[in-house]
Protein backbone atom coordinates (compact mmCIF):
# COMPACT_ATOMS: atom_id res chain seq x y z
CA UNK A 1 0.00 0.00 0.00
CA UNK A 2 1.36 3.34 -1.00
CA UNK A 3 0.44 5.11 2.20
CA UNK A 4 2.95 3.06 4.15
CA UNK A 5 5.82 4.64 2.34
CA UNK A 6 4.29 8.05 2.88
CA UNK A 7 4.64 7.79 6.63
CA UNK A 8 6.91 10.12 8.51
CA UNK A 9 8.09 9.71 12.08
CA UNK A 10 5.80 11.44 14.54
CA UNK A 11 7.27 12.80 17.70
CA UNK A 12 4.73 12.96 20.46
CA UNK A 13 2.52 16.01 20.00
CA UNK A 14 4.84 18.04 17.81
CA UNK A 15 3.08 20.94 16.10
CA UNK A 16 3.42 20.84 12.37
CA UNK A 17 1.82 24.22 11.80
CA UNK A 18 1.34 27.32 13.90
CA UNK A 19 -0.84 30.09 12.53
CA UNK A 20 -0.48 33.17 14.69
CA UNK A 21 -2.67 36.24 14.39
CA UNK A 22 -2.99 36.10 10.62
CA UNK A 23 -4.80 39.10 9.17
CA UNK A 24 -5.46 39.74 5.49
CA UNK A 25 -7.31 42.55 3.76
CA UNK A 26 -8.39 43.00 0.15
CA UNK A 27 -9.06 46.65 -0.49
CA UNK A 28 -11.82 47.49 1.98
CA UNK A 29 -12.69 43.88 2.69
CA UNK A 30 -11.36 42.30 5.87
CA UNK A 31 -10.84 38.75 4.63
CA UNK A 32 -9.11 37.33 7.71
CA UNK A 33 -8.93 38.78 11.20
CA UNK A 34 -6.42 37.54 13.71
CA UNK A 35 -6.70 33.84 12.88
CA UNK A 36 -4.69 31.75 15.32
CA UNK A 37 -4.40 28.01 15.76
CA UNK A 38 -1.87 25.20 16.21
CA UNK A 39 -2.05 21.94 14.35
CA UNK A 40 -0.58 18.78 15.87
CA UNK A 41 1.00 16.24 13.54
CA UNK A 42 -1.19 13.45 12.23
CA UNK A 43 -4.55 15.12 12.73
CA UNK A 44 -7.30 16.05 10.34
CA UNK A 45 -8.48 19.60 10.90
CA UNK A 46 -11.78 20.56 9.34
CA UNK A 47 -12.19 24.18 8.27
CA UNK A 48 -15.81 25.16 7.77
CA UNK A 49 -17.90 28.29 7.42
CA UNK A 50 -20.34 29.89 4.99
CA UNK A 51 -19.50 31.14 1.55
CA UNK A 52 -17.05 33.99 1.60
CA UNK A 53 -15.94 33.34 5.18
CA UNK A 54 -12.25 33.42 4.21
CA UNK A 55 -11.44 29.73 4.22
CA UNK A 56 -9.66 29.63 0.87
CA UNK A 57 -7.93 32.90 1.70
CA UNK A 58 -6.52 31.23 4.80
CA UNK A 59 -5.18 28.41 2.63
CA UNK A 60 -3.67 30.95 0.29
CA UNK A 61 -1.89 32.64 3.17
CA UNK A 62 -0.64 29.34 4.59
CA UNK A 63 0.84 28.18 1.30
CA UNK A 64 2.30 31.53 0.31
CA UNK A 65 -0.02 32.67 -2.47
CA UNK A 66 -0.77 35.78 -0.40
CA UNK A 67 1.41 37.43 2.21
CA UNK A 68 -0.60 38.39 5.30
CA UNK A 69 -0.69 42.01 6.53
CA UNK A 70 -0.06 40.79 10.05
CA UNK A 71 0.69 37.51 11.76
CA UNK A 72 2.93 34.55 11.12
CA UNK A 73 2.78 31.15 9.53
CA UNK A 74 5.22 28.70 11.13
CA UNK A 75 5.54 25.40 9.32
CA UNK A 76 7.53 22.61 10.95
CA UNK A 77 9.21 25.08 13.25
CA UNK A 78 10.26 27.47 10.48
CA UNK A 79 8.79 30.87 9.95
CA UNK A 80 7.47 30.72 6.39
CA UNK A 81 5.50 33.98 6.42
CA UNK A 82 5.74 35.70 3.06
CA UNK A 83 7.62 32.83 1.43
CA UNK A 84 6.65 31.79 -2.10
CA UNK A 85 4.35 28.82 -2.79
CA UNK A 86 7.22 26.83 -4.31
CA UNK A 87 9.34 27.33 -1.21
CA UNK A 88 6.54 25.93 0.92
CA UNK A 89 6.05 23.08 -1.51
CA UNK A 90 9.72 22.14 -1.20
CA UNK A 91 9.35 22.17 2.59
CA UNK A 92 6.58 19.57 2.39
CA UNK A 93 3.32 21.45 1.96
CA UNK A 94 0.89 20.37 -0.75
CA UNK A 95 -2.60 21.51 -1.60
CA UNK A 96 -5.54 21.03 -3.90
CA UNK A 97 -7.62 23.83 -5.38
CA UNK A 98 -11.28 24.58 -4.89
CA UNK A 99 -11.66 25.10 -8.62
CA UNK A 100 -9.57 22.30 -10.06
CA UNK A 101 -6.49 23.41 -11.99
CA UNK A 102 -5.34 20.49 -14.10
CA UNK A 103 -2.50 21.05 -16.54
CA UNK A 104 -4.91 20.38 -19.40
CA UNK A 105 -2.56 19.69 -22.29
CA UNK A 106 -0.44 17.26 -20.26
CA UNK A 107 -1.39 13.66 -19.58
CA UNK A 108 -2.69 12.50 -16.22
CA UNK A 109 0.64 10.82 -15.58
CA UNK A 110 2.61 13.96 -16.44
CA UNK A 111 0.44 16.03 -14.13
CA UNK A 112 1.30 13.78 -11.24
CA UNK A 113 4.96 13.57 -12.22
CA UNK A 114 5.14 17.36 -11.85
CA UNK A 115 4.02 16.92 -8.26
CA UNK A 116 6.59 14.21 -7.59
CA UNK A 117 9.45 15.94 -9.40
CA UNK A 118 9.17 19.39 -7.93
CA UNK A 119 7.72 18.64 -4.51
CA UNK A 120 9.56 17.87 -1.33
CA UNK A 121 11.62 14.94 -2.55
CA UNK A 122 12.86 16.36 -5.83
CA UNK A 123 12.78 13.12 -7.80
CA UNK A 124 14.17 12.40 -11.24
CA UNK A 125 11.68 11.71 -14.02
CA UNK A 126 12.02 7.95 -13.94
CA UNK A 127 11.51 7.62 -10.22
CA UNK A 128 8.72 10.20 -10.36
CA UNK A 129 6.95 8.22 -13.04
CA UNK A 130 6.86 5.19 -10.73
CA UNK A 131 5.51 7.27 -7.89
CA UNK A 132 2.90 8.71 -10.23
CA UNK A 133 1.69 5.24 -11.17
CA UNK A 134 1.46 4.19 -7.55
CA UNK A 135 -0.40 7.29 -6.48
CA UNK A 136 -2.74 7.19 -9.47
CA UNK A 137 -3.66 3.60 -8.71
CA UNK A 138 -4.19 4.62 -5.12
CA UNK A 139 -6.74 7.31 -6.03
CA UNK A 140 -8.36 5.09 -8.64
CA UNK A 141 -7.14 6.81 -11.78
CA UNK A 142 -4.91 3.95 -12.89
CA UNK A 143 -7.01 3.39 -15.99
CA UNK A 144 -6.75 6.97 -17.23
CA UNK A 145 -3.03 7.37 -16.87
CA UNK A 146 -2.24 8.33 -20.46
CA UNK A 147 -5.27 10.50 -21.14
CA UNK A 148 -4.99 14.24 -21.33
CA UNK A 149 -5.90 15.81 -18.01
CA UNK A 150 -8.29 18.16 -19.79
CA UNK A 151 -10.41 15.22 -20.91
CA UNK A 152 -11.22 14.01 -17.39
CA UNK A 153 -14.61 14.63 -15.79
CA UNK A 154 -14.95 16.66 -12.61
CA UNK A 155 -14.73 13.67 -10.26
CA UNK A 156 -11.59 12.47 -11.94
CA UNK A 157 -10.10 15.93 -11.94
CA UNK A 158 -10.64 16.13 -8.19
CA UNK A 159 -8.83 12.82 -7.79
CA UNK A 160 -6.07 14.06 -10.06
CA UNK A 161 -5.56 17.11 -7.85
CA UNK A 162 -5.36 14.76 -4.89
CA UNK A 163 -2.87 12.51 -6.65
CA UNK A 164 -0.67 15.44 -7.64
CA UNK A 165 -0.55 16.66 -4.07
CA UNK A 166 0.17 13.18 -2.68
CA UNK A 167 2.93 12.52 -5.19
CA UNK A 168 4.90 15.33 -3.58
CA UNK A 169 4.90 13.25 -0.40
CA UNK A 170 4.03 16.21 1.77
CA UNK A 171 4.03 16.50 5.53
CA UNK A 172 0.94 18.69 5.44
CA UNK A 173 -1.87 18.50 2.91
CA UNK A 174 -4.41 21.27 2.38
CA UNK A 175 -7.62 20.01 0.78
CA UNK A 176 -9.93 22.69 -0.58
CA UNK A 177 -13.39 21.23 -1.15
CA UNK A 178 -12.31 17.94 -2.67
CA UNK A 179 -15.80 16.54 -2.07
CA UNK A 180 -17.80 19.34 -3.70
CA UNK A 181 -19.80 18.16 -6.68
CA UNK A 182 -19.29 14.46 -5.97
CA UNK A 183 -22.16 12.01 -5.51
CA UNK A 184 -22.51 10.00 -2.25
CA UNK A 185 -20.56 6.97 -3.55
CA UNK A 186 -17.76 9.15 -4.81
CA UNK A 187 -17.70 11.05 -1.52
CA UNK A 188 -17.33 7.79 0.37
CA UNK A 189 -14.49 6.75 -1.92
CA UNK A 190 -12.69 10.04 -1.46
CA UNK A 191 -13.16 9.97 2.32
CA UNK A 192 -11.65 6.54 2.37
CA UNK A 193 -8.60 7.92 0.56
CA UNK A 194 -8.36 10.81 2.99
CA UNK A 195 -8.44 8.46 5.99
CA UNK A 196 -5.75 6.29 4.48
CA UNK A 197 -3.57 9.29 3.82
CA UNK A 198 -3.96 10.41 7.41
CA UNK A 199 -3.18 6.89 8.65
CA UNK A 200 -0.02 7.10 6.60
CA UNK A 201 1.05 9.98 8.82
CA UNK A 202 0.19 13.00 6.70
CA UNK A 203 -1.45 15.88 8.52
CA UNK A 204 -4.49 17.32 6.76
CA UNK A 205 -6.50 20.52 6.82
CA UNK A 206 -9.70 20.26 4.82
CA UNK A 207 -12.16 22.92 3.78
CA UNK A 208 -15.48 21.28 3.24
CA UNK A 209 -19.14 22.04 2.81
CA UNK A 210 -20.38 18.49 2.84
CA UNK A 211 -21.05 18.51 6.56
CA UNK A 212 -21.74 14.88 7.17
CA UNK A 213 -18.38 14.06 5.68
CA UNK A 214 -16.29 16.67 7.39
CA UNK A 215 -17.93 15.96 10.74
CA UNK A 216 -17.22 12.29 10.32
CA UNK A 217 -13.59 12.48 9.36
CA UNK A 218 -12.14 15.45 11.29
CA UNK A 219 -10.42 15.26 14.65
CA UNK A 220 -11.02 18.92 15.25
CA UNK A 221 -12.96 21.66 13.51
CA UNK A 222 -12.48 25.41 13.17
CA UNK A 223 -15.40 27.55 12.03
CA UNK A 224 -14.76 30.80 10.18
CA UNK A 225 -17.36 33.47 9.61
CA UNK A 226 -16.55 36.88 8.11
CA UNK A 227 -12.86 36.02 8.45
CA UNK A 228 -13.03 35.37 12.19
CA UNK A 229 -12.82 32.14 14.13
CA UNK A 230 -16.25 31.84 15.68
CA UNK A 231 -15.96 28.33 17.05
CA UNK A 232 -13.43 25.57 17.50
CA UNK A 233 -13.58 22.05 18.92
CA UNK A 234 -14.54 18.48 18.21
CA UNK A 235 -17.19 17.87 15.54
CA UNK A 236 -19.79 17.20 18.26
CA UNK A 237 -19.05 20.42 20.09
CA UNK A 238 -19.08 22.48 16.94
CA UNK A 239 -22.30 21.05 15.54
CA UNK A 240 -24.13 21.95 18.78
CA UNK A 241 -22.80 25.50 18.81
CA UNK A 242 -25.66 27.93 18.16
CA UNK A 243 -23.28 30.36 16.49
CA UNK A 244 -22.35 27.75 13.93
CA UNK A 245 -25.94 26.88 13.17
CA UNK A 246 -26.64 30.56 12.84
CA UNK A 247 -23.74 31.12 10.51
CA UNK A 248 -24.97 28.34 8.26
CA UNK A 249 -28.71 28.63 8.23
CA UNK A 250 -28.87 32.29 9.01
CA UNK A 251 -29.99 33.91 12.18
CA UNK A 252 -33.37 32.54 13.36
CA UNK A 253 -33.94 35.75 15.29
CA UNK A 254 -33.21 37.76 12.18
CA UNK A 255 -35.59 35.60 10.22
CA UNK A 256 -38.26 36.07 12.83
CA UNK A 257 -37.79 39.79 12.78
CA UNK A 258 -38.19 39.88 9.02
CA UNK A 259 -41.36 37.83 9.20
CA UNK A 260 -42.87 40.13 11.79
CA UNK A 261 -42.24 43.24 9.77
Amino acid sequence: MVTKSLSTPTEGIAMILNVQGVTKRFGGLQALTNVTFDLPEGQILGLIGPNGAGKTTLFNVINGVYAPEAGQVIFRGRNMTGKKPYQLAKQGLARTHQVVRPLNELTVRENVIVGACFGRENHRLKQASKIAEEVLNFVGLGGKIDQLAGSLNITEKKRLEMARALAARPYLLLLDEVLAGLNPTEIEYMLNIIRQVRDGGITIIMIEHVMRAVMGVSDRIIVLDYGKQIAEGTPQEVSQDPRVIEAYLGDPKLAKKLMEE
Binding site: H209, L249, D251, L254, K257, L258, M259
Partner: protein, 236 residues
Protein backbone atom coordinates in the same frame (compact mmCIF):
# COMPACT_ATOMS: atom_id res chain seq x y z
CA UNK B 1 -49.52 32.55 -15.84
CA UNK B 2 -46.02 31.88 -14.65
CA UNK B 3 -43.79 34.87 -15.35
CA UNK B 4 -40.68 32.74 -15.66
CA UNK B 5 -40.72 29.03 -15.99
CA UNK B 6 -37.79 26.65 -16.13
CA UNK B 7 -38.42 23.05 -17.17
CA UNK B 8 -35.95 20.17 -16.82
CA UNK B 9 -33.00 22.51 -17.25
CA UNK B 10 -29.66 20.82 -17.82
CA UNK B 11 -26.39 22.71 -18.15
CA UNK B 12 -22.69 22.66 -17.34
CA UNK B 13 -19.23 23.91 -18.19
CA UNK B 14 -17.05 22.16 -20.76
CA UNK B 15 -17.79 18.49 -20.31
CA UNK B 16 -18.85 18.87 -16.70
CA UNK B 17 -22.56 18.67 -16.12
CA UNK B 18 -23.72 20.80 -13.21
CA UNK B 19 -27.50 20.88 -13.61
CA UNK B 20 -29.35 17.62 -14.02
CA UNK B 21 -32.96 18.76 -14.18
CA UNK B 22 -34.06 21.97 -12.57
CA UNK B 23 -37.69 23.10 -12.44
CA UNK B 24 -38.84 26.49 -11.34
CA UNK B 25 -41.98 28.50 -11.76
CA UNK B 26 -42.32 32.14 -10.75
CA UNK B 27 -45.82 33.45 -10.15
CA UNK B 28 -46.61 37.04 -10.86
CA UNK B 29 -46.04 39.41 -7.98
CA UNK B 30 -44.50 36.76 -5.77
CA UNK B 31 -41.12 36.54 -4.14
CA UNK B 32 -39.65 33.12 -4.80
CA UNK B 33 -36.53 31.79 -3.10
CA UNK B 34 -34.10 29.33 -4.62
CA UNK B 35 -31.87 28.03 -1.85
CA UNK B 36 -29.18 25.42 -1.70
CA UNK B 37 -25.72 24.86 -0.26
CA UNK B 38 -22.50 25.95 -1.87
CA UNK B 39 -21.88 24.12 -5.13
CA UNK B 40 -25.48 23.04 -5.57
CA UNK B 41 -25.65 24.87 -8.89
CA UNK B 42 -27.70 27.95 -7.99
CA UNK B 43 -25.57 30.40 -9.93
CA UNK B 44 -25.47 28.06 -12.91
CA UNK B 45 -29.28 28.08 -12.98
CA UNK B 46 -29.28 31.86 -13.26
CA UNK B 47 -26.48 31.93 -15.79
CA UNK B 48 -28.27 29.46 -18.02
CA UNK B 49 -31.57 31.29 -17.68
CA UNK B 50 -29.75 34.37 -19.01
CA UNK B 51 -27.95 32.29 -21.65
CA UNK B 52 -24.54 33.23 -20.28
CA UNK B 53 -24.13 29.49 -20.08
CA UNK B 54 -25.83 27.77 -22.97
CA UNK B 55 -28.47 25.33 -21.65
CA UNK B 56 -27.80 21.72 -22.67
CA UNK B 57 -31.39 20.66 -22.33
CA UNK B 58 -34.81 21.69 -21.08
CA UNK B 59 -36.71 24.89 -21.74
CA UNK B 60 -37.00 28.38 -20.36
CA UNK B 61 -40.19 30.40 -20.79
CA UNK B 62 -40.40 34.10 -20.10
CA UNK B 63 -43.92 35.55 -20.17
CA UNK B 64 -45.05 32.38 -21.87
CA UNK B 65 -42.51 32.62 -24.67
CA UNK B 66 -39.69 30.12 -25.17
CA UNK B 67 -36.43 32.05 -24.80
CA UNK B 68 -33.72 29.36 -24.76
CA UNK B 69 -31.71 30.83 -27.62
CA UNK B 70 -32.17 34.51 -26.94
CA UNK B 71 -28.98 36.29 -25.91
CA UNK B 72 -28.49 37.88 -22.50
CA UNK B 73 -28.78 41.49 -23.62
CA UNK B 74 -31.99 40.81 -25.52
CA UNK B 75 -33.49 39.10 -22.48
CA UNK B 76 -32.51 42.06 -20.38
CA UNK B 77 -34.22 44.33 -22.89
CA UNK B 78 -37.37 42.21 -22.54
CA UNK B 79 -37.37 42.82 -18.79
CA UNK B 80 -35.69 39.72 -17.41
CA UNK B 81 -32.99 41.11 -15.18
CA UNK B 82 -30.27 39.37 -13.22
CA UNK B 83 -28.34 41.04 -10.41
CA UNK B 84 -25.30 38.78 -10.62
CA UNK B 85 -23.24 37.17 -7.90
CA UNK B 86 -20.40 39.30 -6.56
CA UNK B 87 -22.27 42.37 -7.85
CA UNK B 88 -20.29 42.82 -11.06
CA UNK B 89 -20.53 46.58 -10.96
CA UNK B 90 -18.82 48.87 -13.45
CA UNK B 91 -16.21 49.68 -10.85
CA UNK B 92 -14.44 52.38 -12.90
CA UNK B 93 -17.68 54.29 -13.41
CA UNK B 94 -19.56 56.49 -11.01
CA UNK B 95 -22.67 55.47 -9.10
CA UNK B 96 -24.96 57.47 -11.33
CA UNK B 97 -23.29 56.10 -14.44
CA UNK B 98 -23.85 52.58 -13.17
CA UNK B 99 -27.51 53.40 -12.73
CA UNK B 100 -27.60 54.88 -16.19
CA UNK B 101 -26.08 51.71 -17.62
CA UNK B 102 -28.84 49.75 -15.93
CA UNK B 103 -31.33 51.62 -18.06
CA UNK B 104 -30.00 50.74 -21.47
CA UNK B 105 -32.98 49.15 -23.20
CA UNK B 106 -35.59 51.37 -24.82
CA UNK B 107 -38.13 49.97 -22.33
CA UNK B 108 -36.06 51.10 -19.38
CA UNK B 109 -35.25 54.45 -20.94
CA UNK B 110 -38.93 55.35 -21.07
CA UNK B 111 -39.15 55.24 -17.29
CA UNK B 112 -35.67 56.50 -16.58
CA UNK B 113 -36.61 59.51 -14.49
CA UNK B 114 -39.22 57.71 -12.37
CA UNK B 115 -36.97 54.75 -11.80
CA UNK B 116 -34.05 56.93 -10.79
CA UNK B 117 -36.20 58.69 -8.24
CA UNK B 118 -37.55 55.43 -6.92
CA UNK B 119 -34.08 54.00 -6.57
CA UNK B 120 -32.84 57.08 -4.75
CA UNK B 121 -35.80 56.85 -2.41
CA UNK B 122 -35.08 53.20 -1.72
CA UNK B 123 -31.35 53.81 -1.23
CA UNK B 124 -30.70 57.39 -0.14
CA UNK B 125 -27.05 56.44 0.36
CA UNK B 126 -26.64 56.12 -3.37
CA UNK B 127 -27.95 59.60 -3.92
CA UNK B 128 -25.39 60.96 -1.48
CA UNK B 129 -22.62 59.19 -3.32
CA UNK B 130 -23.88 59.50 -6.85
CA UNK B 131 -20.60 60.94 -8.13
CA UNK B 132 -18.31 58.44 -6.43
CA UNK B 133 -16.69 55.59 -8.35
CA UNK B 134 -18.51 52.32 -7.74
CA UNK B 135 -15.26 50.52 -6.94
CA UNK B 136 -14.67 52.75 -3.94
CA UNK B 137 -18.00 52.00 -2.25
CA UNK B 138 -18.25 49.74 0.78
CA UNK B 139 -19.52 46.19 0.34
CA UNK B 140 -23.02 47.07 1.51
CA UNK B 141 -23.25 50.12 -0.72
CA UNK B 142 -22.03 48.07 -3.66
CA UNK B 143 -24.79 45.55 -3.07
CA UNK B 144 -27.33 48.38 -2.91
CA UNK B 145 -25.99 49.75 -6.17
CA UNK B 146 -26.18 46.32 -7.78
CA UNK B 147 -29.86 46.02 -6.88
CA UNK B 148 -30.52 49.63 -7.83
CA UNK B 149 -28.86 49.12 -11.20
CA UNK B 150 -31.08 46.09 -11.72
CA UNK B 151 -34.16 48.15 -10.87
CA UNK B 152 -33.12 50.82 -13.34
CA UNK B 153 -33.49 48.20 -16.05
CA UNK B 154 -37.22 48.33 -15.31
CA UNK B 155 -37.49 44.60 -14.62
CA UNK B 156 -40.58 42.51 -15.09
CA UNK B 157 -38.77 39.70 -13.30
CA UNK B 158 -35.82 40.50 -11.06
CA UNK B 159 -33.41 37.73 -10.13
CA UNK B 160 -30.86 38.34 -7.38
CA UNK B 161 -27.89 36.06 -6.77
CA UNK B 162 -26.53 35.82 -3.20
CA UNK B 163 -27.88 39.05 -1.85
CA UNK B 164 -26.50 38.55 1.65
CA UNK B 165 -23.05 37.27 0.71
CA UNK B 166 -20.39 39.03 2.73
CA UNK B 167 -22.83 41.56 4.24
CA UNK B 168 -23.16 42.40 7.91
CA UNK B 169 -26.44 41.18 9.50
CA UNK B 170 -27.89 44.65 9.90
CA UNK B 171 -27.43 45.47 6.24
CA UNK B 172 -28.87 42.11 5.31
CA UNK B 173 -32.05 42.95 7.21
CA UNK B 174 -32.24 46.29 5.50
CA UNK B 175 -31.85 44.84 2.02
CA UNK B 176 -34.28 42.04 2.68
CA UNK B 177 -36.92 44.49 3.81
CA UNK B 178 -36.31 46.50 0.65
CA UNK B 179 -37.07 43.34 -1.31
CA UNK B 180 -40.27 42.86 0.68
CA UNK B 181 -41.23 46.40 -0.20
CA UNK B 182 -40.54 45.81 -3.91
CA UNK B 183 -42.66 42.71 -3.78
CA UNK B 184 -45.44 44.68 -2.12
CA UNK B 185 -45.24 47.07 -5.08
CA UNK B 186 -45.94 44.07 -7.32
CA UNK B 187 -42.52 43.10 -8.66
CA UNK B 188 -41.87 39.42 -9.38
CA UNK B 189 -38.61 38.42 -7.70
CA UNK B 190 -36.39 35.35 -7.65
CA UNK B 191 -34.04 35.37 -4.70
CA UNK B 192 -31.12 32.97 -4.84
CA UNK B 193 -29.57 32.47 -1.44
CA UNK B 194 -27.37 30.29 0.64
CA UNK B 195 -28.83 31.82 3.78
CA UNK B 196 -31.94 29.64 4.07
CA UNK B 197 -33.76 30.97 7.07
CA UNK B 198 -33.60 34.60 6.15
CA UNK B 199 -34.39 33.92 2.50
CA UNK B 200 -37.38 31.70 3.21
CA UNK B 201 -38.68 33.98 5.93
CA UNK B 202 -39.48 36.76 3.47
CA UNK B 203 -40.50 34.60 0.50
CA UNK B 204 -43.83 33.29 -0.69
CA UNK B 205 -42.56 30.13 -2.22
CA UNK B 206 -39.28 28.25 -2.12
CA UNK B 207 -37.21 25.72 -4.00
CA UNK B 208 -34.32 23.77 -2.52
CA UNK B 209 -31.59 22.91 -4.99
CA UNK B 210 -29.27 20.03 -4.25
CA UNK B 211 -26.69 18.38 -6.49
CA UNK B 212 -28.02 20.12 -9.57
CA UNK B 213 -31.66 19.15 -9.10
CA UNK B 214 -34.65 20.83 -7.49
CA UNK B 215 -34.98 18.68 -4.45
CA UNK B 216 -37.84 20.18 -2.50
CA UNK B 217 -40.36 22.87 -3.17
CA UNK B 218 -43.29 24.38 -1.38
CA UNK B 219 -44.69 27.43 0.34
CA UNK B 220 -41.79 29.18 2.05
CA UNK B 221 -43.18 28.94 5.58
CA UNK B 222 -43.68 25.23 5.22
CA UNK B 223 -40.11 24.72 4.02
CA UNK B 224 -38.83 26.86 6.84
CA UNK B 225 -39.93 24.25 9.35
CA UNK B 226 -39.06 21.25 7.21
CA UNK B 227 -36.33 19.22 8.93
CA UNK B 228 -35.22 17.95 5.53
CA UNK B 229 -33.91 21.40 4.67
CA UNK B 230 -31.72 21.43 7.71
CA UNK B 231 -30.40 17.99 6.84
CA UNK B 232 -29.59 19.11 3.34
CA UNK B 233 -27.38 21.85 4.79
CA UNK B 234 -25.70 20.68 7.94
CA UNK B 235 -25.88 16.97 7.34
CA UNK B 236 -26.90 16.51 10.97
Amino acid sequence: MAMLEVRDLEAGYGEVKILWGVNLSLQEGQLTALVGSNGAGKTTVLRSVMNQVRPWGGSIYFLGREVNRISAHEKAAMGLILVPEARQLFTDMTVVENLEMGASSSRALKHYKQNLERVYTLFPRLKERYHQKAGTLSGGEQQMLAIARGLMADPIVLMIDELSLGLAPLLTIQLFSTLKQLRAEGLTILLVEQNVQTALSISDYGYVLSEGRTHLEGPARKLLNDPQVRTAYLGV
